[in-house]
């Protein structure tokens, strides 16, 4: 049992003026030259419940490296030393039309419950004016059909349309692999968000 002794500090909205306070070296580009792994782009757009683009959102991603290891003391898996350069954190804001883009690598599979492997995925946080608490979701890859079918988190989502909101769709743009991942804060195509 978790002992709850200290009251948690509540969240408040990030507001519309965060940009100069959340400047991040690297930002939307997670990959240096020496990082091992398949280069991918992640492109998407954020919408509100009326289908209007959200032009003042902040998107953060957190992911494992190509071997499925997180750059974090809690992850004790062995990884080839040449993969150490990858940190796996990215941050960017939506532009005046609600678009965002990351350049990264496709993550490997990481351990899941009961000796299973999770399907490759990226943890996503969404912040914006009018969003009272960090919205957490996951990005999965549309072309990982087999791994997705085995994934405990995805399999637990019964509604197919809702499950599809977590799947980034593979496209190609200028010979580069790009996954499209739109985020709907509200509405018919509302993205599934997790309580974590």
């Amino acid at each position: 049992m978790k002992k709850m002794t200290f009251g948690v500090t509540p969240s408040q909205t990030i507001g519309p003026f965060f940009h100069y306070g959340m400047d991040w070296e690297g930002g939307a580009n997670l990959v240096g030259e020496n990082v091992v792994g398949e280069r991918i782009g992640i492109e998407g757009r954020v919408f509100d419940g009326s289908g209007t683009a959200v032009t003042d959102a902040l998107i953060e991603i957190w992911q494992a490296n190509a071997s499925g290891r997180y750059t974090h003391p809690e992850d004790s898996q062995q990884t080839p030393p040449d993969e150490d350069e990858f940190i796996g954190f990215g941050r960017t804001e939506t532009d005046d039309e609600g678009y965002f883009r990351f350049d990264t690598i496709k993550p490997g599979r990481v351990p899941g419950p009961e000796n299973t492997l999770q399907a490759p995925h990226i943890s996503v946080s969404v912040f914006a004016r009018g969003v009272l608490d960090r919205l957490a979701t996951r990005l999965y890859f549309s072309d990982e059909t087999e791994a997705n079918a085995e994934d405990a988190v995805l399999s637990a989502i019964e509604d197919e349309t809702v499950r599809a909101s977590l799947l980034a769709k593979l496209t190609e743009s200028d010979g580069k692999l790009v996954y499209r991942f739109n985020i709907h804060l509200q509405g018919e195509q509302e993205t599934l968000f997790f309580e974590i």
Binding site: F6, G7, V8, P10, G21, D48, Y70, E74, S123, Q186
Partner: protein, 224 residues
């Protein structure tokens, strides 16, 4: 359920109406993806990054303040070596942001953004000037109480927190829809710093204490 959790829809704060998800959040048992998170060393943070009054040639106008405290987890353990980012309006209530159209003066000596790392006891400290209140368009004659935005990572994706710190005794607090998005009074009161004579430096700056408690991550991730 923690008293710091609350509905994402709060119609008094108009921007929530089209931006709050309508479907309930789906509980996610923590895996390695949730109990890890970006952990950065000191190399990213320069020594003066926590002094917002020394980023330009001259000194910013306003009441000089020192804001400090500790970052703890739910069990009261210090959260060490974690990054805190802050940003705020200047003393006149104007953000250094192209989209802030409030007709208050820009201070050429104040940007209003800083960062620091917590120490081994979870302590942190920023030097700044007291931000001004400012009007916004939410409702007629709406004014935001003076506040400083805080962003914290903690040790895991699960512990991420973005919040706002307020000042004690601010008469705008009871009528601020954003502050009042937190329905539980005790939880809400944790957003208000306290005046602290110990942090106050004689002949120099007023001190405010703001302790931050990050939500937990599951102690053991789900595994065999």
């Amino acid at each position: 359920m923690s008293d710091a959790k609350f509905p994402l829809l709060h119609p008094d704060y108009k921007s929530t109406v089209l931006r709050a998800p309508k479907r309930p959040l789906i509980p996610l048992a923590h895996t390695i993806s949730e109990i890890t998170g970006p952990v950065y060393g000191h190399e990213k943070v320069r020594p003066l990054d926590n002094d917002l009054t020394r980023q330009h040639k001259g000194e910013p106008l306003g009441e000089r303040i020192i804001v400090g405290g500790r970052v703890l987890d739910e069990n009261g353990r210090p959260v060490r070596n974690t990054m805190i980012e802050v940003w705020q309006a200047n003393a006149a209530g104007r953000y250094y942001h192209k989209k802030d159209l409030h007709e208050a003066p820009i201070d050429p000596n104040f940007t209003g953004a800083g960062r620091c790392m917590t120490d081994d006891e979870g302590r942190y400290s920023f030097t700044s000037i007291k931000p001004g209140a400012y009007p916004w368009q939410n409702h007629s004659n709406a004014w935001r109480p003076a506040h400083i935005h805080f962003s914290l990572f903690g040790m895991a994706f699960a512990t991420r927190l973005v919040t706002q710190m307020y000042f004690p005794g601010d008469p705008l607090l009871p009528m601020d829809p954003i502050f009042n998005c937190v329905p539980d009074e005790r939880a809400r009161s944790r957003l208000i710093s306290s005046f602290d004579l110990e942090t106050t430096q004689p002949e120099w700056a007023l001190g405010y204490r703001f302790d931050i408690v990050l939500r937990g991550r599951d102690e053991t991730p789900m595994e065999t």
